[in-house]
Amino acid sequence: MKQKLLNNTEAIAIGFMAVLALVTGGWNTIVCAVIAGLLIGLSANQNRDGIIRAGVLGAIASIITAIMGYIFNSWVSTLPGVDNQAPDHLTAYPLILAVVIGTITSLVVAWIHSIHEEARRKQAFLIFMVVCAVIFPFFDQCPTLAWNGPISIANPTVGCTTSKALLWVNAVIVTMIFALQALGLNIVAGYAGLLDLGYVAFFAIGAYTMGFLNSDHLVAQDTFLKTQFGFWLVVWGSAAAAAFFGLLLGAPTLPLRGDYLAIVTLGFGEIIPIAAKNLAEVRIFEPISLFINQLFSKADAQSLDRMQNAEAFLKNTLCLIGCDPTRPFDFTAGTKGISPISPPVFGNILGIPKIYAFVNGDYIPWYFLALVLLAGSAFFIFRLRDSRVGRAWVSMREDELAANAMGIDIVRTKLLAFIIGAMFSGFAGAFYASYVSFIEPGSFAFDISVTVLAMVILGGTGNITGVILGAFITRVVDLVVLERLKQLINGITEKVFFSGIDNPALVQFVQSIADATAYKVMLFGLILVVMMKVRPQGLIPAETAAQKRKA
């Protein structure tokens, strides 16, 4: 058989990264070249020819990326409205480095990929990924660095300013939070085959639990809570709270038809933000005394401050929560949001002195914390998949009837998957709340559920590596590509098409039609439809039991 010039993965890698370099430019070109090299290396044949081919292809890809980066530097970044992150946009260093590092990456990855012994190959990959992940934030620290002069090996970060830097690190931390959610949804959708459309609800529950127990919001109101519990304790509480709500929601609906669960979770996802918005003024009375009192007096229990005889009403009614007539209990802070939520602290508990405290805005420690949590979760899920429950999930996914005949309780196993999925979402929510230090109902909108679902579907349902890859692709498109495309299109329309036309309303119209960020939902929708039609198993499909036996 004649070998094609490029296989699909290589073509996608080169094309996608070239576009990414075109819209980001500057130092981001290096990141693009590395990712392109990584993907090319991964899809190489496992022999000497494969390595050589990967090296050549990697070099070509890196050169294309560098050319795109050059186009950004010399032309795109001069367009009006384009956010120029790289003041050194005309230096050649990033472009030369992109070619060198991209080529090296593809060679190294292809070499690792060609190791025949599977265990050693996996080990080598793991080491490579860890090295990449550890180097990455330090590298990313310098997008604004004025590397016009000679590069100082001794002190490479000289002149680094962290103010505008870390474009990628921040994005990657948020991506890892999303990947954590996607791992959880993968259990629900990938293993148990359930469609959970209100996944953001559990994320919100986790985040709000963190907000309640690890900020001054409730403590300041002098309620049952006297002190903050601290991140490390509350994280488990968040996961448990989310799991509890998962049980509450899943237990009644799971025995029913599968598509009912989709609607119920969809509704739940809508209700939780409504609740968070409206529970800012909580006042709860004992129902029986409230009933009698309200029947005979003109009292609206929720607006006592506007009431004439509030004192008498309060005296006759047994009040449980929020009994101050002037100030009801503020539970969720409504649209105002809870802030600031305390970051994690090492030590400072049980007499151990404070060792290290995270600071919001200092990204690097957060990056490593997120990395450790994500790696730990991925490891946990890997182990879980090989456990008794995990094997039950996999067998259920492949043939529910046969699994049932083998004695697997389908409903209970599905419920367990649903609860564990919810737990991961709550866990991610807790970390998110602590990371951004501010939560409000608006940050838990429906489109988060959509994004996470798109990640799982894109990457490959049931495959952990695939899901993490899907999370990164989706998130990079969402955060970087669409935003930059919008700037690029706006810049081009303003400079090229409308340079001679004096009609601001027309420009406004064209810009809002061509606003790439406004098509985010459509893009994710198309990802879902196209993946379902073309490749329902995702980019990296899960290994089925039959394939495992063959191997």
């Binding site: 469609l195 609906t253 409206n278 129902p287 029947l295 929720q302 309303a505 809002s512 929708g525 879902l528």
Partner: protein, 385 residues
Amino acid sequence: MERALNSPVPLSKRFWPVFRTIAIVYVILLLGQQAGLEPGRIVREMIDNPVIIVQQLIVGLANAAIITIVALGYTMVYGIVESINFAHSSVFMLTTFVALLTMSWLVNAETKAPLWVAIVAFIPAMAAGGLINGLVERYAYRSLRKNAKIVGLIAGLGMDFVLQNIGLQIGAFGKLPNAYPNVEGIKFLKILGNQNASPKSFPAVNEFFSGPGIPVNVLEFIDPHATLRITPADLLVIITAVVLVFALNWFVKNTRSGKAMRAVAQNPAAASMMGIDVDRIINLTYVIGGALAGAAAVMFGVYNGTTSSSIGATTGLNSFTAAVLGGVGNIQGAALGAVFIGLLSSLSDQFISSRWTNAWVFMTLVLVMLIKPTGILGTEGGEKA
């Protein structure tokens, strides 16, 4: 049996269900008061002003009319392919825009419209609804029907987002008349406003057949000082819904295509052997469902006076709940469920708390699934493996 006679059920066990029910009701009242469920206040308000109950019943019926027609789209499709059409609520949302633009075009961007404009608007809205839903079925769902159910659901969800995004971006055309203020032909686009996501107002239907002197309240014909209010829009909406339900019922019972639909719903394989083109019949079902969504869109626009790209979700949840409540796959059931949901939401808006109405509808959905998942008029036989 013998054993049961010999050893009577202990007292604690006999009272357990009663106790449990009381406990659940108590907890609902305890937590529900935050969401406006204060029975004492509600009863007193109802006693203080009984007219308002009747008024809310009328509002509820009008709401129910719209919900019924959207729910029919869900229930017909579910009855035939046993899968939720997730894109249905977005088809409904898009057709409200079709209705909006048609009406605005017919009255040349005026804020008032005679009744015939609303009636004419049914034609493009229904055509657009049928077309969109038919295309979605043909190009997104058809090839996936043989796959696992979740595949079709996810594709439907994806189509839902695509259509929702289109609905959002339609709003951008509202900026076009500003760019060309002298072009008359695009003046009607002004109704879309300057903000994509903001609510867009329909021209108000306030005159019967463009004759002057027609009252806003129909009851003034009978009693000039009536406190109750029935508007022409109320009547239009309720009459349309009744006509459509009967027409659909007749269609499904009596026509050749309707019989084919019922045959496919019962057993696609057998229907196919009898010479029925199953693909065509399923597509027809989607087209009819979409056309009904279009009709509901005009009713919604005339009745509520506004639309936006986000109305699909709420109407969708209400209608789906109605369909499940009535028994999915059942036309009369959908109407019955819709009346319940319509009354619930209008009474909740008035007496409980309008901020929490969606939450109460959702609670109803969960309760129905808990207590009687087959719905009021549904049968166990409707569920196939």
